[in-house]
Symmetry: C2
Subunit: 227 residues, 2 copies
DNA sequence: ACAATCAGTTACAATTTGATACAGTGATGC
DNA sequence: GCATCACTGTATCAAATTGTAACTGATTGT
């Protein structure tokens, strides 16, 4: 499930891992490494696989002809992305931070022939994705700029953060533009909001890509999370 | 009060019907009618079924504790909605216009036991839903108020519209508030935008719930559609 | 070494949308 | 028949976000 605002990610992630560990990997299930900037597929490409992210970060995007772009989702470790509609992909997908990916044949999702267990896993990943996207709706449509940014930081923190003393730290491999296009904002608004959060002592940026959460409670307040 | 959706048992419905017709209907596949206002399920309810809309209109909603509401989707004839994440529904679902619904057991989606054909249909409906939600993202995050309203009218027109002379007419069984909560706007903005579209001669309202599209070309322009 | 480029940030003006208030209309109930 | 209520439409004003532009610091290429 993609980075959305809810807190379902962690649990889901853990339930996904075990089933793979004890399987002899079939050919199409081999793990491959992709460098930053690599395109996994483009909008309109024939969809032969869905992709399970083991490490790194992917980015799913769609573009309107007038240049407006939407980041549909970031694919973090544990996510399965690239679910096709019909035969074709309907988004672009590229690598934001060097990633280890397992490609699953689309037929495994669609018919499950020969591998009912993976079929189940992929199906459940699709259902989780629907749920995650519904969370994302709430964010895009019903949250203010500052709530969006706070929610986003919270989500990334929950998925990839690690403790540093009493605080939590994590990196933001994607650009401000990516964050803006994910949240439905402009770069300037995202940047401004980061500044406010810094000035309020809620976060601190060691580099623009390295966030230290100083006051998790306040960040949670600022995000208006549903839980 | 609610205008009956006249001509909606159209294309989508017919493509869906055949597989059912020649089956001995299992109990959970029987078609039932639900009156306006009926709740099919609430957020948190155990999810035992997914619902296939034959006629009428359903509404999927989520609410933030502070009262902000988001209409996730409208279920029109041909749609299958209520895909669960885990065991529970994560939205509310109620009837906007008297609807004929077929409930499919969740197990048919999850395991396909005993009914691989329906299993396939439900799976593909889930994948279609993911694709549709991605479209909705573009709308929520990257379109202006007037583009949103135009896109919405266009979508309803394409799904349920019928020709009237050179024009196209359709009904809007949902309230302005529903439309606003679907598009991430306020009622006032929706109303304002309807007025502008009327003043520009693009649409005409016979009643607030009955739309006549006078200039489909202009409506398409106004929606900034990607195709 | 230096110019050029790019991501990020900041300030300020312009624009869009939201909030508030109120009027009209049709339906419902007493 | 009349009052009430829910929904819709309109106007005005306030607030939030965007657009524009300038500036910084880091990186790249020549």
């Amino acid at each position: 499930m993609y980075v959305t605002l809810s807190s379902e990610s962690t649990a889901a992630n853990q339930t996904l891992a075990p089933s793979l560990i004890f399987q002899a990997p079939a050919p199409q299930q081999q793990q491959r490494s992709y460098a930053t900037g690599t395109h996994l597929f483009h909008e309109g490409d024939t969809a032969n696989h869905v992709y399970e992210v083991k490490t790194g970060v992917l980015r799913l995007t769609r573009v309107l002809e007038n240049g407006r772009r939407q980041v549909i989702a970031f694919g973090l470790p544990g996510d399965i992305i690239g679910f096709p509609n019909g035969d074709a992909h309907h988004t672009d997908c590229d690598v934001v931070a060097t990633a280890e990916i397992v490609a699953h044949r689309r037929s495994t999702l669609e018919t499950g022939a020969g591998d009912p267990e993976t079929h189940q896993r992929l199906l459940h990943a699709a259902l989780r994705e629907i749920s995650a996207m519904q969370d994302h709706f709430m964010m895009l449509a019903r949250k203010s700029a500052s709530e969006k940014v706070a929610s986003f930081l919270l989500a990334i923190s929950n998925r990839t953060g690690s403790p540093r003393g009493n605080f939590t730290t994590f990196s933001l491999p994607m650009s401000r533009a990516d964050i803006a296009d994910f949240l439905g904002l402009t770069v300037e608004t995202v940047s401004r909001t980061f500044s406010i959060l810094r000035k309020d002592g809620i976060i601190s940026l060691e580099t623009p890509q390295t966030v230290l959460v100083l006051d998790m409670e306040a960040l949670l307040d600022a995000s208006q999370t549903d839980d």
